[in-house]
Structures are given as structure tokens and as C-alpha cells.
């Protein structure tokens, strides 16, 4: 195929266009306002697992700007400004991510519901999935602890140490993995989750939510107590073994948010990554008061892959990075 041509069929691009219209119709019908937020930001996402593209701005007060990895921070400022329920639909950017399920820019649908908890938002995510994939089956909720017990026989993952998780990995024949250190508990959790649990989630037509992640993986979610262990009010959506969405019962505490940004930058320093400017405008918005809410970000390209049985993200993108 000549390299000027799209990698997606025109029928696929039509399906994508129909979805964008259906999503806007869905939210319009429920009184959720569409918002646009800057793709270029003075601050960056400090999450050590994400890498932001950066560029230079040459106008007044020029300097480094970062391409957003999601519209989350700006949307939260709108929530604090009293926007009420909002959604954003557009491209986000993550450097270094390329593969069958990854393109360094992709389409994210992110929305926030004021006053809702994460369970109510999971119900709405499932409802929207059923609008886009008519006939998709039953909603299933699985907590992180139960997933590790059911799929890997780990009784309580929140208390399992690296040695215990490493022993499970050894039995599953995925070692050696010399780069993964004995001090990287979350890395070992991610390894087992990614290779041995996620492929089993959302199979047989189910819509599966994995929720209540370890507190150390809370990102921007609130914490709660679960049978004596701190867990995050965070969920992810899986269909056919593919991770599709990540949601939080949102943290609204500015001081706690500042501590998490600092912890991110400490982790970045430890990993030899560049420390990044934290979003002080988000912290100021939280300090001014953001209403209690839940939010979720859904990867539309991957959902389109699931809907159409595409083997690679290239099949659902007009021009993936290799043809950009």
C-alpha cells in the first residue's frame, strides 16, 4: 500500500465519525457540556509512567510547553469554576508509546460527573459502551484483591511483598526480568496484572471493571479503607482483555494532591527521569474548592478496535505515527 494512503478503511473512518456524533448526542441528552481545553500546557503530568512531549513557545513569556497527556487538570479547573458536568473529546499525546495497542497520539473521551461516586460512574461508562457496542453483555465488577486471588492464587495482594509476587511470576515462566528491582513492588504488581490477569478480563462479551487498586497506585483518586487495607477509589474498564478506561472518585484535597505531585517527582528523580513542573493552577483550583465528583477517561481507538475486531490500532487510525 502506498504510504500516503490511510491505514484504516474508509468504512472504519465512517464508523469513527458515527461514534463521535453518537457520543456528543449521548452527552447532550444528559446535560453534560462539551469543553475544549489547551493541548499545550505550562505544567506537565508528573506521573513517572507517562512521558510528555514538549515544545517551545516563542511569543511573550515564551518557554517550554508540554502537550497534554489528558485534559484532566484543565477540566478540574473548570469544575472548580462551577462548570458542572463536563466532557472533552480529542487527541492526547504520550511520548514513547507505540505498539499494537498504542499510538503516541490517540483519541480520549474524558468526562466528570459532579456529586457521583466511582460506582455510579462505572454504571454510566457501561451504558455508554452499550450505546456504542449494541448488545455488549453484562456489567461485571471485580476488585483488585479478588482478581489476584481468583486468577493467581494470591490471597491478599495488598499485603504480598516482592518476594511473594516474584515467586508467582517465576511459576508463570516470565522470568528472568533483570530490570525489575526488588524495591519495585508496584512494578511486580503491574507485571502480573498486565500479563496474567488483564487478558482474562472482559471476555465472553462481558464489560468488566477492575476497581479498588492499591493505595500506591491511586494516582488522582481518593483512598478508602477496605478490610484493613488502604485502597484507591479508582477503576479501569476491560473488554476482551484490553484496557479501555481509567476512572477515579476524584481527590479534592489540595494538600494531598501537592504531596502526590511531589512524590511523583521524587520517583522521577529515583528513576533518572527529568523532574517536571507541577500544575500550580490545578492546586490553586483545588484549594479554592472543587466539588466532589468522579471522572473517567476512555480510549476511543481501542474501543473501536474491540468493536471491529481490529488486531492493531493502525487499523482504526487514518494515519498512525508511522504515516503521520
Amino acid at each position: 500500500m502506498p504510504v500516503w494512503q490511510p491505514t484504516a478503511t474508509l468504512a472504519m473512518l465512517r464508523r469513527r465519525a458515527d461514534w463521535l456524533a453518537a457520543i456528543r448526542g449521548y452527552f447532550a441528552g444528559r446535560g453534560v457540556m462539551e469543553v475544549e481545553t489547551p493541548m499545550l500546557s505550562r505544567a506537565a503530568n508528573t506521573d513517572p509512567a507517562l512521558s510528555s512531549f514538549q515544545t517551545r513557545y516563542h511569543g511573550p513569556d515564551g518557554g517550554t510547553l508540554y502537550l497534554h497527556t489528558s485534559p484532566e487538570f484543565a477540566m478540574k479547573r473548570l469544575l472548580a469554576a462551577g462548570s458542572g458536568d463536563i466532557y472533552a473529546l480529542g487527541r492526547v499525546f504520550r511520548d514513547g508509546e507505540a505498539g499494537r495497542h498504542h499510538n503516541p497520539e490517540f483519541t480520549l473521551l474524558e468526562w466528570y460527573r459532579v456529586g457521583w461516586d466511582h460506582h455510579a460512574l462505572m454504571d454510566e461508562v457501561a451504558a455508554l459502551v452499550q450505546v456504542l457496542l449494541p448488545g455488549r453483555g453484562a456489567l461485571e465488577r471485580l476488585d483488585y484483591r479478588t482478581a489476584f486471588r481468583t486468577h493467581l492464587g494470591v490471597e491478599n495482594v495488598h499485603r504480598a511483598d516482592v518476594a511473594a509476587l516474584k515467586a508467582v511470576a517465576a511459576d508463570l515462566d516470565i522470568l528472568p526480568l533483570p530490570g525489575l528491582g526488588d524495591d519495585d513492588l508496584d512494578g511486580w504488581r503491574d507485571l502480573l496484572l498486565s500479563f496474567f490477569i488483564i487478558p482474562q478480563l472482559g471476555v465472553d462479551g462481558r464489560i468488566t471493571f477492575l476497581h479498588h487498586y492499591p493505595a500506591s497506585q491511586a494516582a488522582l483518586a481518593r483512598l478508602r479503607d477496605d478490610r484493613g487495607d488502604a485502597v484507591a477509589e479508582r477503576f479501569e474498564l476491560f473488554l476482551d482483555g484490553v484496557e479501555l478506561a481509567n476512572g477515579f472518585h476524584e481527590l479534592t484535597d489540595a494538600a494531598e494532591q501537592a504531596r502526590r505531585f511531589q512524590a511523583d517527582n521524587r520517583a522521577r528523580r529515583r528513576l533518572g527521569l527529568t523532574e517536571l513542573p507541577v500544575d500550580r493552577r490545578l492546586l490553586a483550583a483545588l484549594a479554592a474548592g472543587m466539588p466532589a465528583c468522579s471522572g473517567v477517561a476512555l480510549g476511543l481507538d481501542r474501543l473501536l478496535m474491540v468493536a471491529t475486531g481490529a488486531a492493531s490500532i493502525d487499523e482504526v487510525l487514518a494515519f498512525p505515527v508511522t504515516r503521520a
Binding site: 509512567a49 503491574d190 500479563f195 480510549g299
Partner: protein, 188 residues
Amino acid sequence: MASYSTNEFKGGLKIMLDGDPYAIVENEFVKPGKGQAFNRTKVRNLKTGRVIERTFKSGDSVEAADVMDVEMQYLYNDGEFWYFMHPESFEQIGADANCVGDNAKWLKEQDMCSITLWNGVPLSMSPPNFVEMEIVETDPGLKGDTSSGGNKPATLETGAIVRVPLFVQQGERIKVDTRTGEYVSRVK
């Protein structure tokens, strides 16, 4: 020492693992939205041909293998080594049975072969996709004999045995596909 980051992983890249050279066959980037990314690879051992799976933490570096393919002309076999010559530098190298393996039966003097060198030492050899050879022995083959499915074994000048149609006779030259070991046509 040269090395590759997992970000550079793609099919065909040559890397060192456990002291052996490997080629990446498949590379899958696996990353949860919030959390550690991994590269799940299938890699082929260039010495044994065996394919294994190996997982890497994304961002880690792996030593590069000094492996390259060169076109060389086959000269002769002294009973222990098969000798090849670089057509421009006239440099000669000897490859042992581990390197040449079963492909020895396709080697005809003067033919150009692809030699894979690791640190300058021959690791494997691929003969030309098609070779032309003389049949040194085959039964006359009777028309109407359908018991053999319309073909018969023929021994070539190098000792290789291929199945040929019944009408092909001893002393004729034939073209053979070395990748499948199958007869292609007679050569006039």
C-alpha cells in the same frame, strides 16, 4: 559497548542475551495506562535457531549483538570447513558444520551465499534461493507408472536428493528451490 533501549526494539534487531546473539522476531509493547510498561518479545537464538519469549522492563537497555549478513562466494570444502570468499576484499573465511548444517547439500562452487557473521565469525549460512545442479543418478522412470505419484527421487551432484517428475532423466540439469528442497524446472 553499543546497546539498544527497549524503545528501539523492532523485528530483526540483533541483541545479546545470556552471552548468545539473538534476533527479535516479535515485540509487543504492554503498558497499563497508569503503571510500568513492558516489552514482551519473541527472540530467535542465532546460534541454535530456537525461539524463546523474553520480557523486558520498558526503558531498559540491552547490549547490541555485532551481527551482520554478508554476501560471499562459496569456494570449497576441505572435509572440516567450508570456505567462502568476499568478492571484493577476497578475504576468505572457513565455516564449520554447526554454521553450514544441512545447507551443505546446496553448496556448489562459485555460488553466492549469505553468511551471517557474529563478531566476524560465521554463525549461519543461507544458500541462494535457487540453485542449478546436474542429476547424477535417477531411475529411468516409466510413463504410466502412477504408484509413485508421478515423481521419483533423483541424486544431484552435491549428494542432495530431490523428487523430480518421471520425464526428467539422469545427466540433465535442474533448478531447485533450496528453501523447500523442491524441484522447479529443467534447465536447458
